[in-house]
Structures are given as C-alpha cells and as structure tokens.
Symmetry: C2
Subunit: 131 residues, 2 copies
C-alpha cells in the first residue's frame, strides 16, 4: 500500500496560520523568481498570490520575500534567508509527521472503500475539472 498523504496546518494564533497553500506558493516563487509566474504555475489569480505573500510578510517580524529590482532579474521576487527557512522547517516537519502518522492510520486505511478512479498522474485540480 502506498503511503498516505498527510497535510497539516499550524495556527500560531487565531489571526496567524501557515498551511500547504502558502508554503507551496513560497516554494514556487523561490523556484521561478517571480510572483506572477508562480501564480500562473499554481493556477491562482495574481491578486490572491499577492495577498498571500503580503500576509506572510506581515505575519512574521522578518520578511519572507524581497523584490529583485535593479539586478539581473529586475522586477522579480526572491526569497529571503528567513523565507527559505520557513519552507525548510515546514517541509521537514511535514515529512516527519507523515512518517509518524502512516502506521497509526493503517487500520483505518484498510477499511477505505473508495478507490482511486483513474490510473493517470493528473493533479487533483485537473481531475476535478473532468467531472
């Protein structure tokens, strides 16, 4: 049986939370060096991506991104060292929690009756567009 996917979300307090959505946006910005391109890749509006990044930059006492104006990649957006450490912390923890959760969910997993329909590797978003 393949490993279960365990996603998690941390509420630092009622006004301040961090989950898979913000982390994947940060990671994609880090990969492509542009907010607009990251939004396109993730299929979200530029406005939504902008608001999420603005929220992240307010959430901590250090910025997670900075603009790369004037450099070779002028107009882009890059991650700060703190932004990178947020991703790394989250991803390490996610792996660790999934490893821990898997054996404890094995019994429930045996009773799962709904199986994956397709044999494709389409992402969830593409799957739901089909129906």
């Amino acid at each position: 049986m393949s490993a279960l996917n365990v996603r998690f979300r941390v509420d630092f307090n009622r006004a301040c939370s961090l989950g898979p959505g913000k982390i994947s946006l940060l990671r994609t910005i880090g990969d492509c060096g542009s907010l607009a391109q990251a939004a396109r890749i993730l299929g979200m509006s530029y406005r939504r991506a902008w608001l999420l990044v603005a929220n992240l930059n307010k959430m901590f006492d250090k910025r997670v991104t900075t603009s790369a104006t004037g450099g070779r990649r002028g107009g882009g957006m890059i991650l700060t060292p703190f932004g990178k450490s947020v991703i790394v912390t989250f991803q390490r923890l996610e792996k660790d929690l999934a490893r821990r959760a898997n054996p404890r969910l094995a019994l429930l997993s045996k009773h799962v009756a709904i199986r994956d329909k397709g044999k494709t590797n389409l992402p969830r978003r593409a799957m739901s567009r089909r129906g």
Copy 2:
C-alpha cells in the same frame, strides 16, 4: 507561550480524505444524537452536514453512523462502533502530532509578529463576524 494548534488532514487517496471538519461533525453527532442538531451547533447547513455524513458512510467499507429509528430516540442518528473508532484514532493522532510539532515550530513561533487582537474566548467564526 501557549501550545500551537496543529490541524491535519489525511488523504487516503485522491478521492478520499479525512480532516478536522468531518471529525468534528461526527463527534457532535455522537454528542447530541441528531444530524439536524449537530449541523445547527456547528453552524453549517443541514444539506452540507448530510452530504459529509453520506461521504463518510461511502468512504469506508463499514458505516460510521446509523439511524436510531424506532428506539427511545427515534429519528435520531448515532455513531457505530466503527464511527467511534474513527474519531478516537484521529484525535489521538492529532494530539500526538501536535506534541511532536510544537518544539520544532518554536523558532518560527518566536518570529510571529501578528498577535491575537482580543482577549475574548470567542470562537474563530464569531470573531470574523465582528469585522
């Protein structure tokens, strides 16, 4: 510093997931013995609650709820032993994962700049209605 709240969601596969929403619905049904009342308590529509329970009952090869027709609480809904075990498994795991996550998020937590605004114990839903 108070403990962080860590919520998690398990994807058994692409068509089948279990998270805090379904678990709190199940727990509330178990507490009050009625789907309609559970929906009211959680502030969700009866239709949404009904769909979530229908999904849970299809998701596993055992039912999680059963109707309590004919008994003293005729017309109600009660949890099956399997339904109860789903809740217990999830909640134990949630506690365990939170305990494990807390020390590893301490460093990020120190940098959180947005603090809780109010000193009330209002739930999240009530807070957001204020604005």
